[in-house]
Symmetry: C4
Subunit: 317 residues, 4 copies
């Protein structure tokens, strides 16, 4: 009896240099954008949470740049446009460190909670902020709060994005396709997000028990071990002001050391991974799973039967 | 001093081949049914959660079929009717793998939150979807969200079900009886559900700290060890898109390995267990505990005293 | 450097036979009383939660009686009056086992959320149910949900209670005094309640991560070790349908084994402890701390200044 | 590969005697002030929570004074003015023990949830209570619930405070500057607060899973190890009625023992640390990071565009 006699991934992708798996440590650099949008009428008065959030550009980003230089690693940083404008020095440090910048909304607005027009407005404003500062249009996207809307794919295609990393539908890259074009999806999961393990802060409406770094890293490491065994893609969703605090960063660096010691790991930015995916697709070396979007354009018919009775009942729940 | 000198189960059931306990790994294959019903006005716009939920039929079910084939095990999969219609390929894979399909509502509606008429409507629609695809009527039922109503038993009896696995009233099978007939109850408990250990997702209104697979499996294993010691029934309530992710499935397979190594375990589907229960009852080898339902037809009288004062006060809490 | 050179309890009480500490495992036997009062309009329709709650009288109480007989221990069971009337057989088992019954409201109503008149009405109805079945008036009280009101002490004194175990103000017994008389307070703390460790159930508005029994018992054991070191009183607040499930009861019994092996522990019912406290007080061997109640008869004046401005602001929070 | 080849702190401060780090165990002595303000209309009726909160002055403070005398340590205690007036004996014990008292509001009101005028009113009332009892004006401040407002800095400067310990923006001291003057900021973080690890109490709107003391101390110790490695400042936010309970205090004392054994730790009050910071600044031995406040005087313009549309949409979330 053993289920261990082969990968449990349906269509494993060939990684460069026969690596067992790919690891992309990615960071969402929210700074105080989300604090402002979560508390539009009082964020100016939440000084402790401002200090909590501004640890991002002022303390954690410089620290990460230093630590990653020592490690010889480049990683991917998703940044809201407003943060680029507000904290340009932190952005410059990241760019000088050779890291990849990608876009994470403008003010951390949730695309699926605003109108389609507004979504496009903020997306373009984010792109403008990004392009103005970096001199390049963004190639990668992660929706703030993973709030990818039914319009997002079309907009991203239209704006020339190459990859998205907001979805959770697989353990390896896949393709998300719209009639207007397609993106490489580099999926992650809440399991690799640091908030559920570390954040207790009422102003962020997030009050979880705070784990020891060793405990959070057990979760992250278990995901890595499985990716390594089965050939998967491991994409963290960490935040400088959360995982960039001293004790947690020490633990994260220990985890990277564990990965390095295990061997056979391709450490890469998401941009590099997207390029690799495109290459093996173009070469015919791998055929991705393709998902067409949007899945639904409106509530499903079972919820909108003509008499509406059940739907109303369900809705009133 | 020892409390270990005998079982703590009042009426232990004889398991086949003198097994110490019975283990039924059961899965609720919700796909995106619950996402739709929890968010009737906006599920079409929750793309990341769609991808999270559709991992069920697209990734996890094929993976489970593969893994269970390697393990040589058949298990029980509860499926809402809508998912059968929506994801027939996944259903076919399960059937080809020799697994048991059982019914889990139509759209993951909660029976005890809708009217009695609606409950029957959706139950029959679920049965129709099930029967259309599998060619057989369902024999087993688990209420979505364990939301078994006071009408459920009568309906299930009427529709010819053999067993239910929604209740939590014992550690061994029992009989739930209505004037119209009875079912075998194969009880479980939230303790063996994977959601409290693993799921953080606001669109599902479920934001728990995420445990490492090894930590969740400590809970599941403790329940198993106790079932083994005392002769109980161990029924997991796992979800492919939760426990079918790579790291968790590896841990679950390790747990199955632990059970196999301990020995004396009867691994079975719930259908097989229900048949065994019926057999030992018919043979007179075991007398089940019987519970008659409904327990209450209306709020208890203490809450509806004529003057109503206390009841109103209590209700206004 | 050491803080360990003596007890950290201000006025340690002499325990019988020079015991290091006293341990009272106490159980709140809520059955489905709280389910009804928490869901006055729909509890009749919550069948799975009914089965979850009725595990109390039908499965767990008989099991506990068996297990405690094997252990040779008597313990204290707090029971709402309605449960006594509803499940007399379970009560008889407890009485036959030599256990102490004490009162826990009538329908698990929270005294500090109803009027003073209603509190007295339900208290007396609880006493009547208790006395009718047991032939004795109750000597001990624990307020449902620890919801001891500012009227409770006077009522309990008037009704002849000897001790209360609802408060959390010390690590050893103390006296709570009203102008009409006084009670022995045998304090506990949420730390020794099993709900925060084990209960996930929406119908009870209680959705905590579910710990492994070994993890919950680490908390309970740490409290015991400290009580043992410093001479304290350890009073658990366990529930048969929670901690009486197989795996948890096995772990609880292991914990009792740990306590027994450590030695110097006085295992007792709360009634026995109250009697001991009274005795050492009467003998002048120990002088208890005394708290006079009620502390406040109305909101404190700082919240009700004449102009009311701050108070209103504070209240509107 | 190593990121361990140097501190990850940008501008490490020289600690006295070449200590590796500074440790300030600080306590917020809320007593029942916060219970009253959180429940202005019913705190008088919440007797169990009163007893839970009054464990602070009646049990835990005397215990801490004893334990710290044995340890030969002085620590910092933040106290609301109302508690000073209400529990003068506990204050006297702390003063006799040589501990530092600092101010923590008047009734644990949250400055950023009341008007600027009220904030000043309560601040001055707190100062008056403090000065009346201790004979000295307070030098240090921690905002209740970390609710430092945009007006707080100006008020604190005006009232002659020397340091604040409410913010979370760094791992070493920094300076917070207002046009009227500046304070030394001695930052902490929710990670070192004991509530997320230990408190389950509905009357405090705080219902977390309760950790074993050893588990909570893993979190605190990980922060210490990182502070020690990198040269940081470790400031706990503990509460006598939470961490002063027997088992938790034993664990906290064990943690202090661990720190002492590791060596190179400067144990100090926050007042001593603030004085040291001022000294190394005045001597030119260290240049602090300076943050100017307020950061924002009103909601950011992106949220108040002329047409207001997006802002309204965002606000309506």
């Amino acid at each position: 009896m053993s289920a261990d006699s082969g990968t449990l991934i349906g269509n494993p992708i060939p990684w460069p240099n026969d690596a067992r798996c790919a690891v992309a440590v990615t960071w969402d650099v929210d700074c105080d954008s989300s604090l402002n949008i979560y508390n539009p009428n009082k964020a100016d008065n939440l000084v402790a949470s401002q200090s909590f959030a501004r640890y991002d550009p002022l303390i954690a980003v410089p620290r990460l740049v230093t630590a990653l230089r020592r490690l010889g690693m480049q990683q991917t940083f998703f940044v809201p446009g407003w943060c680029i404008e507000k904290y340009p020095a932190a952005m410059d440090l990241l760019m000088e460190g050779g890291h990849e910048l990608a876009l994470h909304g403008y003010l951390h607005e949730r695309p699926n909670e605003i109108s389609a027009d507004d979504e496009l407005y903020w997306l373009q404003r984010g792109i403008a902020a990004f392009t103005n500062h970096t001199g390049q249009r963004p190639r990668g996207w992660r929706a703030p709060s993973f709030a990818f809307s039914k319009h997002s794919l079309a907009y991203l295609v239209e704006e020339g994005f190459v990859y998205d990393s907001s979805l959770m539908g697989d353990d390896v890259p896949y393709v998300i396709k719209h009639k207007a074009g397609s993106l490489i999806e580099l999926p992650t999961d809440w399991t690799l997000d640091d908030w559920p393990h570390y954040v207790f802060n009422r102003d962020f409406k997030f009050t979880m028990p705070i784990s020891a770094p060793s405990k959070a890293c057990e979760v992250f490491r278990a995901e890595f071990d499985a990716a390594w065994r089965h050939g998967g893609l491991w994409v963290s969703v960490w935040h400088p002001f959360v995982s960039g605090r001293l004790a947690r960063l020490d633990a994260a660096i220990d985890l990277l050391g564990y990965m390095l010691a295990k061997g056979g790991v391709w450490f890469a930015t998401l941009g590099e991974i997207a390029d690799h995916v495109r290459k093996v697709m173009d070469e015919g070396a791998w055929k991705p799973r393709v998902e067409s979007y949007p899945l639904y354009n409106s509530p499903i018919p079972e919820l909108t039967r003509i008499d509406g009775k059940d739907a109303r009942r369900a809705r009133s729940r």
